[in-house]
């Protein structure tokens, strides 16, 4: 029997939705198996049942030939299953080796046997050819290394079936290549790997087999060599997907957003923004590519007014902004902002849809008088926005968290659009959003550009940057390490810059 894991007829329901609807997946021993699907298709839920975090409502899980009933991750770990989650489960204040041994620390009379722990971790690192300073504190390590630690953690507990959930979401192209090498190595050593992802190019690159999920059901199971990206996309979405957006080059106008020598320090006194200068013209989309953590968030905060502690000049629509100008002052001058984290910065999840829409809108002079808000007028504007942006909401008074990610993002977009901004900062505009909403938002951004708005796009998704931008800047360590016109850009070139390596092409021109 060369199946190491079989998930048979799994049904898992949550209030209001069926996450897994009669799903059957079988994983062959020693293979790399991709599980793909859109956001919300049920991939993570399925794997969490394999890892013992959820219990299936119906169905059977068979591991290495025997039927299992996991009540907690401990049971799954005992069967040799390990899982690396999308969001890291490391303890920042502890060291690397402490994090690795967390699940089963070697002890002596209740105290942790530090010597033995370090020995075992060193041995593990050697076995899998990972080079690592096991005494370093996790808080200070780069993301690529943190991922390695997560994998080591699972291996330490004896996992030979590894579940990896969206592992490349935060890696540069070069780190992804190194990561794939690791996977191939692990496969050689006998591990079976389940890769959850929505990135089709990676699936084609590294997996042996693919299972496709859509809306909780299995819509396809193929050998990777027998398929391609377009076929997989069809199975994922159910219709021909627009993989590229039509964009026209526009004649560029004046400068809508200008930054001159902007500097910013963090609490420890380190420069997070180093003499940044940048221009965005009206009728242009400038994309900022880069690995998260190189200053993008700080840049956005400075431009939008969420951080007033900076040096240098910011100009919106030729008007010089004072650092103390509030986000509302900047909106008055014509700045719009789609925040990168819609749940933390972009909305109040337990407030109603109407109350969420009010924010930014309620200060419009025609909507309030002497401190009293005219809710009737606002409701009209909201209804108009809902229609034109095709947002699906239960009612105006439902809580914002009852909206899907895509609809919430559209609402946030509509909210800013309603103020008719001249300059728009769009940060991670389609993160965690379904394909339909993604297409809509992309098309709207292009429309806005063509009607003469200036758009600054910041995104971790290279494909999004390359699709939408006219000009691409790569951010690294608080500065722009390179600038490329979109038609000249390649993933490899951008990837090198994102990792801090200046491309030779600039010099040779």
């Amino acid at each position: 029997m060369d199946e190491t894991v079989i998930l048979k007829n799994i049904i898992k329901k949550f209030p209001g939705t069926v996450a897994n609807d009669n799903v059957t997946v079988s994983i062959k021993k020693g293979s790399i198996h991709g599980i793909i699907g859109e956001n919300g298709a049920g991939k993570t839920t399925l794997m969490k049942q394999l890892y013992g975090m959820y219990k299936p409502d119906k169905g059977e899980i068979i591991v290495n030939g025997k039927s299992v009933d996991f009540s907690s991750p401990k049971d799954a770990i005992n069967e040799g299953i390990g899982m690396v989650h999308q969001h890291f489960t490391l303890v920042p204040s502890m060291s690397v080796f402490e994090n690795i041994i967390l699940g089963r620390p070697p002890e002596k009379y209740g105290f942790i046997d530090i010597k033995k722990a370090k020995q075992e971790v060193e041995a593990l690192c050697n076995k899998y050819n990972f080079e690592m300073d096991i005494d370093a504190t996790v808080k200070e390590l780069p993301v690529g290394l943190k991922q390695r630690i997560e994998i080591l953690k699972a291996l330490y507990l004896g996992a030979n079936i590894l579940i990896l959930d969206e592992p490349t979401a935060v890696l540069t192209p070069q780190e992804i290549t190194a990561f794939f090498d690791t996977l191939i190595d692990l496969r050689k050593q006998g591990s079976s790997i389940i890769l959850i992802t929505h990135k089709l190019s990676e699936v084609i690159a590294i997996t042996d087999e693919v299972t496709v999920l859509r809306d909780g059901k299995v819509t396809g199971h193929v050998l990777t060599k027998d398929t391609d990206e377009q076929k997989l996309a069809n199975m994922m979405v159910g219709r021909g997907m627009l993989l590229r957006v039509n964009k026209r080059q526009n004649k560029e106008g004046d400068i809508g957003l200008k930054l001159k020598n902007v500097n910013c320090k963090n609490n420890d006194g380190i420069h997070v923004l180093n003499n940044i200068s940048l221009n965005v013209h009206y009728g242009e989309i400038v994309g900022i590519a880069g690995v998260q953590g190189n200053g993008q968030t700080e840049l956005i905060d400075v431009i939008t007014g969420l951080n007033n502690d900076y040096g240098g000049d910011v100009f919106i629509d030729e008007t010089r902004i004072q650092s103390k100008d509030s986000p509302w002052e900047r909106r008055k001058i014509g700045l719009g902002h789609i925040p990168e984290d819609r749940q933390i910065t972009g909305s109040a999840s337990s407030a109603s849809v109407e109350d969420n829409f009010l924010m930014t809108t309620y200060k419009k002079p025609e909507l309030n008088r002497k401190g009293f808000i005219s809710r009737a007028k606002i409701r009209k504007q909201l209804e108009y926005c809902i229609e034109s942006f095709r947002i699906k909401i239960p009612t105006l008074t439902s809580e914002a968290n009852s909206l899907s990610g895509g609809n919430m993002q559209k609402l946030i977009f509509a909210r800013e659009y309603n103020l008719n901004p001249k300059v728009l900062i769009a940060a991670q505009p389609t993160r965690g959003v379904d394909i339909g909403a993604m297409e809509f938002i992309h098309n709207r951004l292009i429309d806005m550009k063509e009607t003469g708005k200036a758009i600054l796009l910041i995104s971790n998704e290279l494909s999004e940057i390359m699709t939408l931008s006219d000009r691409i800047l790569v951010m690294y360590n608080g500065g722009f390490i390179g600038e490329v016109m979109a038609e000249d850009a390649t993933e490899e070139m951008l990837g090198l810059m994102m990792a801090g390596i200046k491309s030779r092409q600039d010099k040779e021109g």
């Binding site: 902002h337 009293f372 808000i373």
Partner: protein, 361 residues
Amino acid sequence: MNFEFRQRSSKINTVLISIIISIIIGGFIIAFAGHNPIGVYSKLIKGALGSKFAIASTIRWTTPILFTGVAAAFAFKGGMFNIGVEGQLYMGAFLSALVGYMIQGVPKPLHIFLCIVAGAIGGAMWALIPAISKVYFGASEMVVTLMTNYVAMYITDYLVKYHFLAGGAFGSTLVTKEIEDTAKLTKLWSNMSAHTGILFGLLMVFLFWIILNKTKLGYEVHISGINPKFARYGGVSVNKVRMSVILISGAIAGIGGSVEVMGYLYKFMSRFSPDFGFDGLAVALLGGNTPFGVLLGAVFIGIIKAGSLQVERATAVSRSLAMIIQGIIITFVSCKNMAIHVPMIKNVKNLFLKYSRKEKS
């Protein structure tokens, strides 16, 4: 530790179940004390609603709690945990009493107005300490307000004892001089404790509703309480909002103290508050920080207080029973997983069946 108070809406079902459970537990406590629970509870209801006198008593006890309830609820809405309503109540009452007897010869409406203003100033001024601590120094307003409660009680005691003691009252209660007749609120019915302060209280609830739902400030408070980051993103000055919220909350509590002085005490008396402040907190939490919830909660607590006073007179059951029951109710109301008792009962049943089967075989 994150002291940021999470906003939650209480469902009616949860509140009802919690009340029932608390009454049952309270019954056990009463029985433990050697009394008949049903007898005690019926005396409680009678003492609160059984006669005109009883109803007047209920109205009298509901009044100050309307103020402290609105004060607490407003602060909570803004994400600020103002536990200092008790202290702000005292400060407002004290200042009000002074204005009540030191100013003479003014018409009644003006005098009452001045006393209310004094109450608001007293409460707001006392709330300034936690407000500044929180907004400018980032200190936990919960800790600071708790401390200022105790300080308020001691300071007002000191002020009365050494500076404002009414002549001839040495050794017994610490009181100030009685306020002028022009500062006294009219009784609703003669010889009973209810007074027109209830109307002020209801007005306060109404104002709370209007501000929250219809004004810019109310909206900013609402959102700052749910998600301050989102509020900042939209251009709200969260610091200004927090400052306003704590000060207004203190002012409202202070007015509550002032109404108590003007309507019932007619002077400032040391330690006059049988935990009005904490009752206000309880009411705000029970009522989900909504105006209507506060109103219902205040009436409910008013009933319990009036009733338990009667009970204390008739039996020896201390009125601190009211506090116990309040605490139990709030505990259960705040539980999000009340439905857990259903699977728990199922589990107990299953275990029971398992063991009884084992015994048979």
